[in-house]
Amino acid sequence: MNLAFDIFTVSAVSAGALFFLAGTVGLLRFPDSLTRLHALTKVDNLGLGLVVLGLLPQANGLFSALKLVSIWLLVQLSGAIITQLIAGAVRLRGPHG
């Protein structure tokens, strides 16, 4: 059973890391602010989500697992809102304002 949990953790965290890598490549390569933001939000939601999902079986009890999930939810919330605010500023004042 432990081995199955470990395999699950390694594969889910690796998949999450892959999203982080893809997001970073997008951040560096995409042409303008809005598409770069798009790349970033994917990392927040899916990448961190997969990392947290992978760490759940390793969590020290239910309470720690809940803490992990709430970290993911808080990052989702702040990520979505910050992206919205930056995008709003870009639309209002242009990419360099």
Binding site: L74, L77, S78, I81, L85
Partner: protein, 313 residues
């Protein structure tokens, strides 16, 4: 070479790189952003060194709060459009030399350590149980070095007085302006409605758990300050004028309770800042809660800056 030392070396290289880019950045805004990233990376480094208390403080104060203060300073400079000419060459040289001296001193201390590194850590661990605390860092802060901790909080108030003193005489006692941070916006309002209940619970938890595990008044206070600032910046709550009696009471209540318990120590435990045996933990938790409140308000007002307008009657 194990995978964890690969990670450590990568982290150190990243920290040095970000540190260099903080110095090399041509624009103040870019430098501050790099500084915030530097603080967060440093927090990860502290976690790697198993110093979770320091990591939390670094992330909250070093990255978060100091970053916010400096972003505010950059925005204020932009608004003021004063002379943004760079500092004179002698001043920059002096700053560079002083920084180099400090760096050299730190490097000597770390690269050429004494034969036997002096430590009081075993003594702390042997006597920690007497205080009833589980977190040795809280034990050192509130039992062995309580005077330092008390003075640290007083320094925070002095810093706030320094910021307030920047106000022109005509608006003394007035209301700080937060417009430099952001214009009220519907998305921001949404966040300011959603996040504070969660944040306040996390802040109280942080302060409460500090007696037993990593956490404490400074970390909790910073989260409290962040929530308060969020609500004020979003315009849901007006910024109080700095002459409000309740504001000033909240600012001093933490240090005052600390000092009162410290003075009571003369009578009850025969020394300044000593706790009567058996009551140490309860008293320390009481002090921590009061300090969390005071630190939260002080940091919030520090970020809000000097008063800019007088309250309309």
């Amino acid at each position: 070479m194990t995978i964890s030392s690969v990670f450590n070396i990568g982290l150190v290289v990243l920290i040095l790189g970000i540190g260099a880019s903080t110095i090399a950045a041509r624009e103040a805004f870019a430098a501050v952003i790099a500084f915030v990233v530097y603080g967060l990376l440093l927090a990860i480094a502290w976690v790697r060194l198993s110093a979770v208390d320091v990591a939390l403080t670094e992330a909250a104060i070093g990255g978060g709060m100091t970053g916010m203060l400096m972003l505010g300073a950059v925005a204020r400079l932009r608004f003021a459009k004063g002379n943004d000419s760079p500092a004179s060459l002698p001043a920059r040289l002096a700053a560079g030399v002083l920084c180099a001296v400090i760096a050299a001193g730190l490097a000597t201390a770390i690269l050429v350590p004494p034969e036997v590194i002096p430590t009081l850590a075993p003594a702390v661990m042997d006597n920690l149980a007497q205080s009833g605390l589980g977190n040795p860092v809280a034990g050192v802060l509130f039992v062995y070095r309580a005077l330092d901790t008390l003075l640290e909080k007083v320094v925070l108030l002095l810093a706030l007085l320094g910021v307030w003193s920047l106000a022109p005489d005509s608006v003394w006692g007035g209301i700080p302006g937060l417009r430099v941070y952001a214009q009220p916006d519907r998305t921001l309002t949404f966040l300011a409605q959603l996040l504070p209940p969660v944040g306040i619970v996390v802040a109280i938890y942080m302060c409460w758990v500090g007696a037993k595990e990593p956490g404490g008044a400074f970390q909790g206070g910073t989260i409290l300050a962040a929530m308060w600032l969020l609500v004020m910046i979003a315009g849901l709550q007006s910024v109080p004028s700095i002459s409000q009696p309740w504001l000033r009471l909240l600012l001093v209540i933490g240090p005052m309770i600390f000092l009162a318990i410290g003075l009571a120590g003369f009578v009850l435990a025969s020394a300044f800042l000593a706790y009567p045996s058996g009551y140490a933990k309860a008293l320390i938790v009481a002090i921590e809660f009061a300090l969390t409140l005071s630190i939260g308000v002080a940091l919030g007002m520090l970020a809000a800056g000097p008063p800019e307008r007088v309250q309309q009657p």
